[in-house]
């Protein structure tokens, strides 16, 4: 099975270990990985800023780069949601593109969804000493229904105990460019998230989207919390959480 890895622009720039963790998990499950070197971004920043044209151009670029794959997997519910749900909106009037695109986007998955529902993964290599709390990122949860998949997988990590925080499904305040345009509100939302993480007593917070994680970690450190560790779920599952 040829699986294309859509790395995502944030993982590419900020935290490559997430991409390598995803590859490790997928290869261990027997996938042949394809990583198009020309990939950049799914177009979501443009789409959410009202720049439809750029979002369309990047959707077509994605189509060209990944069309030959059996599946495409992204370590992000936000990017996978953009591709699976919103790409169709972008081309609703262009039936020829839409057919090609839908054919590919229907085979595009968020990582944990793919591991659980397509690969039916039974074991994971990760080990973790301590407790983690899981933050449900908005797009994954409300666009793709990612809720049980990450919890099921975390349950397979030896030594890991999951303790739920209050309001785990409440937005952390990231929202892409929102975090800069309306930084004060965004910060308050991140602060609320940090209070819930703190109250959960967990040693680490885990999520499936790097955007949320940068926001959460940034706020945790600013409020003086140097203890709580922050991981992408791929890192924990693959055992790359050193």
């Amino acid at each position: 099975m040829r699986v294309g890895l859509f790395v995502t622009c944030l993982v590419d720039l900020m935290r490559p270990s997430i991409g390598f963790a995803a590859i490790k998990l997928l290869e261990a499950a027997g996938c042949e990985m394809v990583v198009p070197e020309t990939q950049t971004c799914c177009g979501q920043p443009g789409f959410n800023s009202g720049d439809r044209k750029t979002a369309q151009d990047l959707a077509l670029k994605f189509l060209d780069e990944f069309e030959g794959c059996d599946y495409v997997v992204a370590p992000s519910g936000s990017c996978a949601g953009m591709i699976r749900v919103h790409y169709q909106d972008l081309f609703k009037d262009q039936t020829n593109v839409l057919a090609r695109l839908t054919n590919l986007t229907n085979r595009t998955y968020e990582l944990t969804d793919f591991l659980v529902n397509v690969l039916k993964l039974q074991t994971v290599p990760g080990r973790f000493t301590g407790s983690v709390t899981y933050h449900d990122a908005c797009a994954g949860l409300r666009e793709l229904g990612i809720k049980q998949q990450p919890r099921e997988l975390l349950g397979k990590v030896s030594g890991l105990s999951l303790c739920e925080m209050n309001e785990s499904a409440k937005c952390c305040g990231f929202g892409g460019t929102f975090s800069i345009k309306l930084g004060e509100i965004s910060t308050r939302m991140a602060e609320n998230k940090c209070m819930n993480i703190d109250a959960s007593g967990a040693d680490a917070v885990v999520a499936g989207d790097l955007g949320c994680l940068l926001n959460i970690e940034g706020r945790l450190r600013r409020r003086g919390d140097k203890q709580t560790r922050v991981f992408h779920i791929a890192e924990v599952l693959a055992g790359l959480n050193d």
Partner: protein
């Protein structure tokens, strides 16, 4: 109502630091969110009813003119007088004309958000007519000289302590903070007004086409008294509120109260049909219904049409993490929260509410809870597109979007830029691996650190690994 939506960002900043408001908002959040969740759980088939509600509202909007004319015909046949108003000013003129006709000195009002759109109270007061708000929340705000901050709980931003102080100042009574005692005191003060008012002004949650009825859904008895005690009743509402049948109304009612307050049904559901008559001796002698456009029909046939499905339950704002933190006043006009971020720019002009379509993380909690499935994040994106296309965003943002677009479509240059950026930022992050300040990104770094990048992009590292392996 005066439009202050241009100042959302600055207003929100003030509200974030207002500890009294924060206390009130926290309390309201628990009440509304948990209440709705429990009511929906109990119902079992909420999703089915939601789908039915959406299709009723869509059916209305597809033939809005037909249902409105049917409504007018039925209401008129039962003795009501139907007026059509294009703008808020026109509403005020019609109400003043009616008031003059009947020599009205005092008006009692039950809650009407449309009358807030029109700034009706100041218009009546400047014509020498006394206006008394009788919804408890609206009454509190009238004493405080403030506009409502929420569409169903107008004084939700006020704490009991604040209400206690307002009552002492207005009523010269002993200070009390118990909710029931405060409500009792308001009731005592309001009763004489109910009895000697010449005109009652209400809103309408729905208009029922087949019977010509206006509907007020309320938890206080005031709505019923406003619509029945005075000689003249004026109901003011938006043209989109019409529904074809009583059956349709009952479906929407099941959604409305559960979504709004978590109640299976509100304490009062009042259908007002026609004037008093020989067979029906209760109620007003004169019943005027003002159907208001004020920007609504402009949305028909556009991508924003789904916003007109709104039944004003408030669930979108109650669940919105932005609203929960800044409260309704920050939005600067009548409708706060996600629906306000769509309706305000649509009704008062996008140029008067530039921040509002941006005032969301697009987390879609609003879309998920909306009882008539309005895709609020999608509608905010439609408005963002209008802003983008109209050059209505700051130049720095437009420039950076352009640069980003160009780079993202040129992978080799993108790789070079990101690789250089990652290296540079890693060095800046130092041993702590944290960036405390980033020029141009103050919005982020004023309240948060930015974890520094690993120093090599994934794609560069991947190529390196592959070469080593191969």
């Amino acid at each position: 109502m005066q439009i202050a939506s241009m100042h959302f960002k600055a207003n929100a900043s003030v509200k974030l630091k207002d500890s009294t408001l924060q206390k009130a908002m926290l309390k309201a959040k628990g009440k509304f969110v948990d209440g709705r969740a429990a009511a929906i759980q109990e119902l079992g088939n909420f999703e089915e009813i939601r789908e039915a509600g959406k299709s009723i509202r869509n059916r209305v909007l597809e033939n809005l003119d037909v249902w409105l004319l049917r409504f007018e015909q039925e209401a008129t046949a039962r003795g009501a007088i139907v007026h059509w108003a294009q703008t808020g000013e026109e509403v005020n003129r019609i109400v003043l004309d009616i008031a003059r006709q009947h020599d009205v000195k005092k008006v009692i009002k039950s809650k009407s958000m449309v009358s807030e759109e029109c700034a009706l109270n100041p218009a009546l007061e400047s014509a020498g007519i006394q206006v008394v708000e009788t919804d408890l929340g609206e009454y509190i705000l009238q004493l405080a000289h403030e506009p409502p901050s929420h569409i169903i709980a107008p004084a939700v931003h006020k704490t009991r302590e604040e209400v206690a102080d307002l009552f002492v100042a207005a009523h010269h009574t002993e200070r009390k903070t118990d909710a029931a005692a405060l409500a009792h005191e308001a009731r005592e003060v309001l009763r004489p007004h109910f009895l000697d008012a010449d005109m009652g002004i209400s809103g309408a949650n729905f208009l029922i086409a087949e019977t010509g009825s206006t509907v007020v859904v309320s938890n206080e008895g005031n709505g019923r008294m406003v619509t029945t005690l005075p000689r003249v009743h004026v109901a003011i509402t938006g043209v989109e509120k019409v529904v074809p049948t009583l059956e349709d109304f009952s479906t929407l009612l099941r959604l409305l109260t559960r979504s709004a307050t978590g109640q299976p049904i509100s304490n009062y559901v009042s259908l007002t049909t026609g004037t008093r008559s020989v067979d029906d001796p209760e109620g007003p002698e004169y019943f005027h219904i003002i159907l208001v456009d004020s920007g609504r029909t402009k949305l028909l046939g556009t991508e924003l049409q789904p916003a007109l499905r709104c039944i004003r339950c408030g669930a979108c704002m109650n669940h919105c993490p932005v609203y929960q933190n800044v409260g309704g006043h920050a939005y600067g006009w009548v409708y706060p929260g996600p629906i306000g971020s769509v309706l305000t720019p649509a009704y008062v002009g996008i140029e008067n509410a530039l921040d509002l379509p941006q005032a969301a993380t697009l987390c879609n909690e609003c879309g998920v809870v909306c009882p008539v499935k309005i895709p609020l994040p999608d509608l905010m994106r439609v408005l963002r597109e209008k802003q983008f296309e109209g050059g209505m965003r700051p130049w720095a943002e437009r420039l950076s979007m352009k640069a980003w677009r160009w780079a993202a479509l040129h992978p080799r240059i993108y790789a070079l830029l990101t690789q250089t950026g990652a290296k540079f930022l890693k060095i800046l992050g130092g041993r702590e691996k944290m960036l405390h300040k980033l020029p141009g990104l103050d919005g982020w770094t004023d309240g948060r650190d930015m974890p520094a990048p690993a120093g090599e992009t994934f794609r560069a590292a991947y190529v390196r690994h592959k070469r080593k392996a191969g």
